[in-house]
Subunit: 205 residues, 2 copies
């Protein structure tokens, strides 16, 4: 580059540090990983949680099927290999958002403990806070809610390998938070999420 | 979900709107896509640009080889197919960051016009601002800088398919901005980037 001229533009060598980013945003980045059956309430809670965070001046973003399956992961199907790659990519992207200082909220069934644990390990290696949130309700409740009519199709054999019907859901053994959506209101669930972020120094009360 | 209780937590049906997000962040999200030869100065300019944006209270994040090649795209090699998939994934991720209201700055050689144009189209479809920035200097200058010693290896035949040596770089035909780094200081380049964001209503002056 040519010689530096007088200007009001200054910077230091090297990259923006995590501390600078944190000071700038007034929060730490993290991943809030919601896992649970279809119909358990992951998206409902995630949508409300994101809104409340933004209302309070925090920076949050939600990754879900709508913005991932039709974009980044549109070239993946439902084979065992593709399902693992689906979660791997989501794990890498949410880690980037968290690294950017954002409270990144993911809402995917993510049924296999092995895949979720890899995402957890990825965050641990990078020193980025990771909260596994088990959005839980009994299968009967999820099936009765059946917001997208998918359980009906799975029971009729029109969908194969559907989580909870003919494909397993590995219950999280070490979730940082369990939200039992058949017992909690949306407000109560959101409050519990805010509380855990506050208790871990991600946001201030 | 069970009945709503009195609380200070409120939200509306549906997702956070782009307008709410913009009001919250005081900026619009966008992608600033830097393309150019190895050694053209993409990363140097991007690092300074990100810092200056953060200093001024904006929200920016940089995607580059360091955080993409070893993470999201670590399962890609250098075949023609994998190179295209590399840029496709980066395009999808930067679009997510821009959708989140962030000024997303990418710094990749991205030598093929076809791949870059697909990323541009992806943003256009979603109504997300996209700025293609051609970080330019003559090949001789880039080769003399050779910050990573890669040109030397390519000339020695130790690296095959190296952009500018034995693989083409398609010069952008419609870049929103050209930064000739053999003629501009880093400050001048950053100022031109700030100017174009301001002129397009992404940030306020």
């Amino acid at each position: 580059m040519v010689e530096q001229k007088a200007t009001n533009i200054t910077w230091h060598e090297g990259e923006v540090t995590a501390e600078e980013r944190q000071a700038n945003l007034g929060q730490k980045g993290c991943t809030v990983w919601m896992t649970g059956l279809s119909g358990s309430g992951k998206s409902t809670v995630a949508v409300a949680f994101e809104q409340v965070l933004l209302q309070r001046g925090h920076h949050a973003y939600r990754l879900d099927g709508d913005n991932i399956r039709h974009g980044l992961n549109k070239n993946l199907g439902f084979s065992a290999e593709d399902r693992a790659e689906n979660i791997r990519r989501i794990g890498e992207v949410t880690k980037l958002f968290a690294d950017a200082g954002i409270i990144s909220v993911t809402s995917f069934i993510s049924p296999y403990a092995e895949d979720r644990d890899k995402v957890r390990a990825l965050h641990a290696e990078a020193g980025i806070p990771f909260f596994e949130v088990y959005v839980h309700c009994p299968l009967e409740v999820a099936e009765e809610r059946d917001p997208k009519g998918l359980y009906k199709k799975a029971r009729a054999g029109e969908i194969k390998g559907f989580t909870g019907i003919d494909d397993p859901f590995d219950e999280p053994a070490n979730a940082e938070l369990v939200l039992s959506t058949h017992e909690l209101s949306i407000e109560e669930s959101v409050q519990k999420l805010l509380d855990i972020l506050e208790a871990n120094g991600i946001i201030k009360g």
